[in-house]
């Protein structure tokens, strides 16, 4: 295929990605250095309240946003350099907290709190998802052929269900006197409030995420298990290998590329953990990096969005993703060079 045909085929997609992904990225980068604020003016305002005999009048200085001739607020954009980053990171406070060794103070700064949660969430769920996925795949593979279809159907449900709704459905099971909380209270014979402290919420979030992603991993590993070489398995049995040894020395090495694929996808997806926080309404206790950007972008009571701060925060989030992806990408690059 010559270059011109290639360009005709791929052009529209590349154009869309440039226009709708690359361009917004550049504009986010730019926005993070600028702040748009309404111009305020200070006016003297006299308020009078009716009193006995004479009115009581108070004169005070009020600062209010300037309006243009259409009655809209005039805004002004100016360059602030790294100020937004500083507002998000709060480096002095963070540094003091680190040098004092006080995690508690550090976790009062939203960004570090979110970063801490996002990373623990990603790193703890990763092995769980791979492990559970592998387990379920082996179980499905062991089952009789006739029940595989229904089992795969049921397994796909957690994966396909709208994430926010999935979280809400777990939430309804556990919130207050929800059915599973009631069961645990009856079993342990003590009062349990799962949404009253941060760590139980985090555990629930991780349980939800594993429930949601393990089927995806399982289906992929299941497909991989179909291609395991039966002859080498059989000769391993003849050589006296136990089940565990067969799994460790034949099956898992065979599945390794798939395990890496699943880990990579899971890394990307769990790094942008967000729905869990909305569904469990846990923002008082636990927040994630993506939720923080969402929060900055949501209008506050006065209707203002802190776009500059959101941009700074999303640039920092993006740096995190790129760091996480460097290793897998280098591997892909080596594979590509090896194949040509």
């Amino acid at each position: 295929m010559n270059f011109r045909t290639f360009a005709v085929f791929v052009g529209p997609s590349v154009f869309m990605m440039l226009l709708f992904i690359a361009f917004p990225l550049v504009s986010v980068f730019k926005q993070s250095f600028y702040v748009t604020q309404p111009i305020y003016e200070t006016v003297e305002k006299e308020t009078c309240t009716p009193g006995f005999l004479t009115q009581t009048c108070v004169t005070e200085q009020v600062s209010q946003p300037k309006l243009d001739e259409h009655g809209e607020i005039i805004t002004q954009t100016h360059y602030v350099g790294l100020q937004s980053y500083r507002n998000v990171l709060e480096p002095e406070r963070a540094w003091r907290a680190i040098s004092d060794g006080s995690w508690h103070v550090l976790s009062t700064i939203n960004f570090w709190k979110a970063l801490r949660f996002t990373l623990t969430f990603t790193l703890i769920t990763l092995p769980l998802v791979v492990g559970c996925g592998l387990g379920i795949a082996i179980l499905i593979n062991n089952a009789a052929r006739s029940i595989r279809g229904p089992v795969i159907f049921v397994s796909l449900l957690p994966f396909i269900i709208t994430p926010v709704i999935g979280v809400l459905s777990i939430n309804w099971l556990f919130r207050g006197d929800g059915i599973l909380t009631a069961m645990m209270e009856w079993w342990l014979n003590r009062d349990i409030a799962l949404f009253a402290q941060a760590w139980t919420i985090e555990v629930l979030m991780m349980i939800y995420r594993v429930w949601h992603v393990a089927p995806f991993a399982a289906i992929i590993f299941y497909a991989g298990l179909q291609t395991v070489n039966q002859d080498s398995l059989e000769s391993a049995v003849i050589d006296g290998a136990t089940r565990w040894q067969r799994l460790k020395y034949i099956v898992i090495p065979h599945l390794m590329p798939l395990i890496i694929f699943v880990s990579m996808i899971h890394l990307m997806d769990s790094y942008r953990v967000f729905e869990e926080i909305v569904g469990f309404s846990s923002q008082g206790y636990v927040i994630s990096l993506q939720w923080l950007t969402f929060d900055y972008l949501t209008p506050d009571q006065a209707g203002n969005r802190s776009i500059s701060r959101a941009s700074a925060n999303s640039m920092l989030t993006m740096i995190g993703v790129v760091v996480l992806l460097i290793l897998p990408l280098r591997r892909t690059w080596r594979d590509h060079k090896g194949s040509h």
């Binding site: 005709v8 179980l139 062991n142 089952a143 449900l157 929800g178 999303s314």
Partner: protein, 384 residues
């Protein structure tokens, strides 16, 4: 497990099947439970006793319930629908449609099945059962508390159908645009081994990893001020893109595009390139070969990718919540709004009913397209 050497002892098979049953229970339970809750009066739905939630004594006491006869006939209709969806529908589509136009047959078939099911289940069946129940004595008496009033509240009183319409616009737009652009790119990338193609794929991979909020942060100011910068082109009545479902389509297509081209590329790679080479020898241009020869064999891949695009657009919360205003939301943010705003248990159950109604189409989707979903996941994995 054809070989004798690999045969498993009975105990191992038994344990493995028990664990599998346990996993199925875990996978299905939360979904099953919210379905049960959505049909109960609030007192029953949030009862801490599981049996009360299932049988719903409070719902029964206000005279809403099902008799044994209702349950048996209801299950029969559902079972019949499942059979029709998995057996009759595929064979009918295969025998009545021209090859290459199966998607149209599927569309008509699925719609007909859905409409038929809703009609029989919610109109014909209740009418018949109203006549039958008094005739049967004990089996005709209500045993299971059940009410559909929350669904009525959601869809009729709360105007949820407006949110449904917005979801429909967004998903249709996303699927159509993603697939049109994506198939071209997927084909181009699959047939070209150049370094440029490789780099496009790598950049797409990095774009896939981006948190969606990053993109939204870039869009929001542009969308809010769009009337200003669009007015030189469109004149006075340039639209503000913020709050328009059509504008959200662009964002979601962009988010979806990296995934789409990766997936379609791996599907195209499965089609031998001798096929289009033969077409080229016969005098087709690249584009004609693509349209006449490749597309007809590509439909399964396109349908699968379409399913995943549908899921992305249908399930999205972050983008739609930020870029649409409160009057114009799609279904997912609307439900979250209901859940967070209202605190009485009645309103909570209404939110549950809304959640179940948007989950139902997804379950149907898995039921009908299970094979395609599995093959889509594995195609991405094996080649990716």
């Amino acid at each position: 497990m054809s070989s004798r050497a690999l045969r498993q002892p009975l105990s191992l098979r038994l344990t493995s099947n028990i664990f599998l049953a346990f996993w199925c229970l875990i996978a299905a339970f939360p979904i099953f439970w919210i379905v049960v809750m959505s049909f109960k009066s609030p007192v029953d739905a949030f009862d801490s006793n599981a049996l009360n939630v299932i049988f719903g004594p409070a719902t029964l006491s206000v005279g809403k319930g099902l008799s044994l006869l209702d349950i048996i006939l209801g299950i029969a209709v559902i079972w019949g629908t499942i059979l029709a969806a998995t057996r009759t529908l595929p064979s009918m589509v295969r025998s009545y449609t021209k090859p290459g136009q199966e998607w149209f047959g599927w569309l008509i078939g699925v719609l007909a099945l859905l409409v038929g099911f809703l009609l029989v289940f919610f109109v014909v069946l209740p009418a018949i059962l109203n006549q039958l129940n008094p005739l049967f004595g004990p089996p005709g008496r209500d045993v299971l508390g059940l009410t559909t009033e929350h669904y009525k509240t959601v869809w009729i009183d709360r105007g949820f159908s407006n949110n449904f319409k917005n979801s429909l616009i967004v998903t249709t737009g996303v699927v159509t645009v993603s697939l049109t652009v994506g198939t071209l790119a997927g084909y181009g990338l699959a047939r070209s081994g150049s370094t440029l193609a490789f780099w496009i794929l790598i950049v797409a991979l990095v774009f896939r990893a981006l948190p969606h909020s990053v993109l939204v942060a870039g869009y929001l100011p542009v969308f809010i001020n769009s009337a200003e910068w669009l007015s030189p082109i469109l004149g006075e009545n340039a639209p503000t893109l913020y709050g328009k479902p059509f504008a959200v389509i662009a964002v979601l297509v962009a988010i979806n595009q990296p995934f789409t081209i990766w997936m379609l590329r791996s599907f195209f790679q499965n089609i031998p390139s001798e096929l289009d080479e033969a077409a080229r020898v016969d005098g087709c241009s690249h584009f004609q070969a693509f349209r006449r020869v490749i597309m007809p064999v590509m439909w399964p891949g396109v349908i699968t990718t379409g399913l995943f695009s549908f899921l992305l657009a249908y399930n999205d919360f972050l983008v739609t919540a930020l870029l649409l205003d409160a009057q114009n939301q799609t279904m997912v943010p609307a439900i979250v709004g209901m859940f967070n705003r209202e605190t009485t248990t009645t309103d909570q159950v209404v939110a549950v009913a809304a959640a179940v109604s948007i989950t139902a189409p997804l379950i149907f989707l898995v039921l009908i397209f299970q094979r395609q979903i599995v093959s889509g996941l594995t195609a991405g994995a094996v080649k990716g």
